[in-house]
Symmetry: C2
Subunit: 414 residues, 2 copies
């Protein structure tokens, strides 16, 4: 049910940032970046509230949420409760509200930054339809799903240095590729540039080296979720990925949405993982509903054109939850840190219009997409803008993530 | 030729830390960790020299070398020149020498820490003999070397959070494995625990997102080198590594030596990469001798026993240099950062006694090693200590790296 706020725009049922949401991000308004929440069409400066003594000292004056994220679930909840109280329609209209009002900025006037310093970035492969689609294209239908896939959430370490916030322009990568019939590889701009529609789990609490964590402990370590686009260079990937996995094909950019939506805001939308085809071993077994019902989509905009929605799917289609991925990630004793980012893997639903990558939508480029303006696309062209969107739909309100988009710049000369 | 120092122990031809070396590390003596160099059997407190105005302000009072490393080649050389002058036998015996003397600690009295904050860790696979050995065991002799191997230095992103300094005890990892004839995988302690003998290149200067760097630019970005043991769980690796590469099998620990040996100290030992079997594409081509002639070895010590040298090899056997690896790493536009660590890949020479992993030495466990005390080993047992050693041999002096060792603790209950 919608929680009512005295910030009136937050009470619109279509608003992504009602009082129920209170996501965390980092903003600036021509000055130093600092922490914020979003409410309606406003951005609330948490550094100002901290300075005024209205919030506990959690490093909100820093240009990243890591200090706050490291403080753990009790502090996260206390700050959420305090913000809920301060912004509630029931909050009395007095001096405190004046202080809060003076810390509000119009969202359209501020710049949003990467919300946290990414310690390390790991990307998983936990969408079954995606794994089957890609496996079929790369290895044939008989070998589509690797033998380990139903037993562990397969993942690989990605590159944290190129995780950027929505709106950052993305340079088309260069790389080495080899045509099947060529004698030698060649080096040049990626010809099969793609997206991957994912959710990202942001780790708040760290774990100790040598010490695996349980699925429940893992769930408690997660601070919140973002939308995540794992930009992918399919032709570079095809040549490089055997035997050690994706490397430069994924290293050039990963875009995330500017707002981290907290677990608390998503709590009403928890849902179970799909039925298990083979029983999971005890250390990875579900202990409750740990996925979320989040509607996800992708739109594509050719330069100068209007957006075309090219995919609509849901996070609930994943086979493994972020908590299970995190439990697996720590199973060897790998230390997890505040600021680690875990990509869910591409979210593809069972139907073609629910696929989360162009590779799947165009079946390896064989079946081009037609945009609303009549242009066709096999993969991404220079000047195209790709945007992910997502929200959880409640009764009379929605929990939004903000935009997760990027425009492709032409490659440098190789 | 040995450069003579007034620190007399530095003038022994067997000493790993003569005036020619001057490696950088981080130490403490019951107080706060700070930066240091090694000279003879002493450790020189660079924070004290900085405070006394004998060195420029480079963050030497910090518990990591990152600030200094970010300053670039001119500052690196200026500090090296200054330290060389201060410690030279020709330095006049006056007040300055008294100040330097008061900043010296006995190496046996101090604790050495991780020398830099590891931003991200990447591990390569650039030793040809190793790739052939492992490929033969995993995929058969016909498919030993992947098709891309002679064209790009294959690598994967590793885990920075578990890079530890020599001497740190290593917990035997847990993980999921599956016997070839089993219906289901199982979860428990690693049964095939291994080392990988590697060199690590430490990145000083960063690069920009979207902008590839040339091989020469890459070489200039490298601050120095360490010994690196890429601890590996072979049974976990065999089950998990397809199709996205090694993950938990490598994530539990990576040990490095405490001293970063600078490029300047290694300059006399540069040597070329081996002859190319296929020409490299221009962006990866050698521009000069970019490998180093560094003698490397491994010793194994069962609990309570004496060390047995089980491998002796040389860094010059690698097919790709660190500069080529770094050029490849940035080729897609991946931003590199101060503190990035690049593992060379296992250094295996052509002969069996030159192999850099137990997997190769025992050929997958089929041919056990016999230690000097008569014990045999297929893989590492609890209580075993594995140590890497390495030095470049000059005329009348050597450039040493210090120890790179770890002892294995029993696994936690699974």
């Amino acid at each position: 049910m919608l929680m009512s706020s005295w910030v009136e725009t937050a009470n619109d049922p279509q608003c992504p940032f009602p009082l129920n949401n209170l996501p965390f991000g980092v903003f600036s308004a021509g000055d130093a970046p600092r922490c914020a929440t979003a409410i309606g069409d406003k951005v609330l400066d948490l550094a100002a509230l901290q300075k005024a003594g209205l919030l506990p000292a959690c490093g909100f004056d820093e240009p990243a949420l890591n200090t706050f994220m490291a403080k753990g679930p009790q502090v996260w909840q206390a700050v959420r409760d305090r913000l809920t109280s301060l912004l509630s329609a029931e909050h009395e209209d007095g001096e405190t509200r004046l202080q809060v009002t003076s810390a509000l900025h119009e969202a359209c006037d501020v710049r949003l930054h990467l919300p946290f310093q990414v310690s390390e970035y790991t990307d998983f492969y936990a969408g079954k339809q995606h794994a089957i689609n890609v496996g079929t294209m790369f290895r044939g239908a008989e070998n589509a799903l690797p033998p380990n896939w139903l037993h562990i959430p397969i993942g690989y370490n990605g590159r944290a240095s190129t995780v950027v916030v929505s709106g950052t322009e993305i340079r088309r990568p260069l790389g080495q590729t080899k045509a099947p019939d060529a004698d030698m590889p060649s080096f040049g701009p990626c010809q099969r540039l793609d997206i991957e529609l994912e959710m990202g789990a942001v780790i708040g609490l760290p774990s100790n080296m040598g010490q695996p964590v349980s699925v429940d402990e893992a769930d408690a370590m997660i601070f919140g979720y973002v939308l995540l686009n794992d930009w992918s260079a399919r032709d570079i990937q095809a040549w490089e990925y055997q035997p050690l996995g994706p490397f430069q094909a994924k290293a050039f950019a990963t875009t995330i949405s500017p707002w981290i939506v907290t677990k608390a805001a998503l709590e009403p939308f928890r849902c179970p993982t799909p039925e298990r085809e083979k029983p999971l071993l005890p250390h990875l077994r579900d202990t409750g509903p740990m996925l979320y019902d989040i509607e996800l989509g992708v739109s594509m905009t050719a330069k100068g054109g209007a957006p075309t929605v090219i995919s609509q799917t849901n996070y609930r289609y994943m086979y493994y939850s972020a908590a299970q991925q995190l439990a697996h990630h720590s199973s060897s004793g790998c230390a997890m840190r505040t600021g680690d980012l875990l990509g869910s893997g591409t979210v593809s639903g069972p139907d073609k219009h629910q696929y989360g990558s162009l590779l799947e939508m165009t079946w390896g480029g064989k079946e081009p997409l037609t945009l609303d303006d009549g242009q066709t696309r096999r993969f991404i062209e220079d000047g195209d803008t790709l945007a992910l969107h997502g929200h959880a739909q409640g009764q009379g309100y929605r929990i939004g993530f903000g935009s997760c988009k990027g425009t492709i710049l032409p490659a440098f000369d190789s």
